[in-house]
Amino acid sequence: MPELNLHQVQASHQAHTVVNRIDLRLREGEIGCLLGPSGCGKTTLLRTIAGLHAPSGGEIRIGETLMASDKVNVPTEKRKIGMVFQDYALFPHMTVYDNIAFGLDKFPAALKRERIQQLLELIGLPHVGDRYPHQLSGGQQQRIALARALAPRPTMLLMDEPFSGLDVELRESLAREVRGILKSEGISALMVTHNQNEAFAMADSVGVLKDGRLLQWDTPYNLYHQPLHPFIADFIGQGSLISGRVCDCRAVHTELGLLKTHLPFGTESGEEVSVLVRPDDIIHDDSSDWKLEVVNRAFRGSHFLFTLKLPSGEKVMCMSQSHHDHPVGSKIGIKLEMDHAVVFPKALSGE
C-alpha cells in the first residue's frame, strides 16, 4: 500500500497553473525527492500535499485517508505530517526543548520528556534543550527542525530545500545523516530540492519537475542512465546531445559511429534524433588514432573534463585522469565505451 498517492494533482497561483496533473506514489518507508529548477512548481506541490495550498484538481491520499479532492480538503493540522522548511522556521521565542515539545501536547509529560531526549540524542545534540534557536549554528538548527517535525511521529515527512541554507561540506553529510534517521524511524518522506547531489544522497526515488509537470519518477540510477526526457538528461549529470539518424530498430548512426540503442516508441528508420553522450561514455586513450580537438578543459581534482569538438562542430565531453593534462587547441585520442545510447526525438530536444 503506498504511503502517499497523488492522482492528477493540479495547483495554481491566481490563474497561473504551477502544478500540472501530477501522478506520484511513494511507498511506505520510501524517501522520495522532487528535483527541479526554481519555479518548476516543486515547492507548491509540496505545500499542496501539506495542505498549505489548496489544489485546483486531483486527489491526494496519505495512507488510506483522502486528504484532498474536489470535495475534501483536510486542514494541515489534521494531516499528521511533519514538515521542515528551508529556513527551519524554529520558533525564536521558545527553547529548543519547547520547540520540539510543540507538537507533543497530547503526550503524557513523562513520555514527552523521554521522546524529546530520544530525538535530541538521535540528532546528536543531547545537551542543547535549554538553548534558544539563535544560539545554535545553522546545521544544529536544521537538525532541531527535523527533530521537531519527527517528534509527533507523523505518517510522513515533507522537506522543502532542507539543506540549502548550509555549506556544501555539511550538506551531503547531513543529508546522509538525515536519511539514516528517517530510515531508523521508518518514516516515509518527500523532499524538494534543486540540488541533485542532495537528492541522490537522500532519496530512494527521485522525480524531476519542469514547468509544473513531473517528467520522470524513478531511481537515481535510472534517471541518470535512462532519462526519459532531454531536460532530465541535461539537468542530471553532465553530457551533451549530438545529432544522429536512426539506422534500424537497434542502432543509430552518429558522428561517433553506429551506436546501439533502445529506440523510443514510434521512431522510424531514417528519422533525425538527438543522442545523449555522457562524459564517461568517451574515454581518453593516448594510443587511439581517433583524435579530437580540445576546446575547453576543466580541472576537477581527480580528473579533467575536456570539451572536444567533433568535425561537424558539435561538442562532446570527455573525462580523463588528472595526470593527463592537454592544453586547449591540442588534439587527444579517444575511444568510445557506451552500452546503450539514449535517444530522444528531435522535436523534444528542441524545447
Binding site: L52, T76, E77, H93, A145, R148
Partner: protein, 541 residues
Amino acid sequence: MTKSPRLWLLITILIALVMTTPIWVLVSFVFESGGNNWQHLMDTLLPDYILNSILLMIGVASGTLLLGVPAAWLISHYRFVGSRWLHWALLLPLAMPAYISSYTYTGLLEFEGPVQSALRETFGNGISLWFPEIRSVGGAILLFSFVLYPYVYLLSRSAFGGASQHALEVSRTLGAGPYKSFLRIALPMARPAIIAGVTLALMETLADFGAVQHFGVDTFTTGIYRTWSGLGDTSTAVQLSLVLLAFVGVLILVERWSRKQQRYFGGHAKGDALERVALSGRRGMAAFAVCFLPILFGFVVPSGQLLYWTVTTAETGWNNEFFELAWNSFSLAFITAVVAVILAVILAYAKRISANKTVAQTVQLAHLGYAVPGTVLAIAILIPLAWLDKTIDDFFFENYQISTGLLLSGTLFALVFAYSVRFLSVSLQSVESGLQRIKPSMDDSARTLGASSWNILGRIHLPLMKTSLLTALILVFVEVLKELPTTLILRPFNFDTLSIRAYEMAADERLADAGLPALLIVLTGLIPVIILSKLMDKSHA
C-alpha cells in the same frame, strides 16, 4: 573615514542629551521643597490617583489588546467582506483626539443625553439606575481603548505581516489549529511590536488630562494639574510627574528584562507573499464585525456626533479663519513629523551600531518624554529654553548691542522642540522595531563591500525600513495635530491651531462649537493616514 564613527557618536550623544534635557530639568526638581503638600496629598488623594491610574492602565492595556490584535491578525491573514478598506479604516480613530471623543460620548450617554432620555421614555425612569455611568473609570477605559487601539493594531499588523510565515505553517503541520498557532506562535513572535503598541497607548493614557478631567476620573495627571493649579505648587506637581515617570520606566524595564533571552529577527528576505485565506459567509461577517466595531466606536460615532453638533447647534459656522488654523496645524504637524523621524532614525541607528552603553541608555531615556503630561513637559522645556534665550541675548547684546529677545522660547522652535521630545518615543518605537527586523548580517555584508555607516543607513536600512518610517511619520503627524497642552502653553503670538480652537470652545462649555474644529482635525489627520497607508500597501506588495 576613521573619524566618522567618532563624529557620529558625538552627534548622537549630543542629540540624545538635548532630547532628554526636559527630563533632566524635571529630575532637578527632586530636591525642591513643596511645603507640606506631599503630606497633604498622601493623606487625601494620592491613593485614589494611584489606584485610578493603575486601573486605567490595566483596562486600557487589555482593551487595546482585545481591539487591536485580533483586527491586525484578521487583516494580515484573511480576506473577507470589506477587508481591503478596513485595512486602513482601522487607523481612523488615530485622528480622533481622546478629549474630543470624551465630549461626544458624554453628550450622547450622560443622564441628560439623547440615549438615556430615549430609554427613559420607553422603559420609564428606572432604566437610568441601570444605565452604566459613562463618566467613570470604566467609561474612561473604554474611551481610551477605542481611541488608542490603532497603535496596537498598526504595530502588530506589521509584525504579523512580516513574521515568518513558515513558523506558522510548521505549527500547523505539528497539529496546531489556527487558534493554537495564533496564541502560541504568532502572538509571542509579534510580542515586541504588540508591547510597543500597548506601551504607546499606556503612555498616552497616563499623560492625558483632557479626557479624564472631563470624565471626572482622578488620575495621576489630574492630580499633577490640581497640585500645580489649585495648590500653586510647581515643585510638588513636578515631583508627582517624576513618580509617574519612574513608574513608566520600571514597567518598560520589567518588560525588557522578561524577554532578554529571546531575540527576534523575523521577516525573512525570501519574500513569500502572505497567502491570505478567504473567509466567507458567517465567518466573514464575524471577521468584519471584529474589525468594524473598533472603527464604529472609535471613529464613526464620535465624528457623527461632531457633525451633528456642527450642523444643528453650533453658534459659529465656517469662516475663512479655519483655513489659517488648518494650515497652522498641518504645517506644524508636518515639520515635526519629519524632524521627529529624522531624530529617531539617528538615535535608533546609533543605538544599533554603537557598543557604547551610554548611548543606548540615553536613547532609552528619550522614550520617557511621551509619558510626561504635556503641561509638565511644556514647563520643563520652557525653563531651559528661557535660560538659553537669556544667554544668547546677553551674548549678542554685550558684543553687538543687539537684543535677540526670546529667540527660542518665543517662537515656533519651542513648539517643534517640545513635540519632538514628546513624540520621539512614537517615532523611535516604530523605527526601532523596523531596524530590529533587519539582520545584523546585512550591515556586515554592506560593510565588507566598503559602505560607511551613513552609506549603510541610506542604502540598506532606509529602503528596507520604508514601512516603519512611514508609520512613524503618520503617527507623529497625527499626534501633533491632536496635541493640546503643549501647544496651549508654548505657541507664539497670534498662532492658533485647530486643536486650540476646539479646546477654547469646549473649555467654555460650548461643545457644539468645538465640533467644527474637531472635525477639521479629524479630516486633516485623515488624508495623510489614508494616503500613507495606501503607500504602505504598495511598498508591501
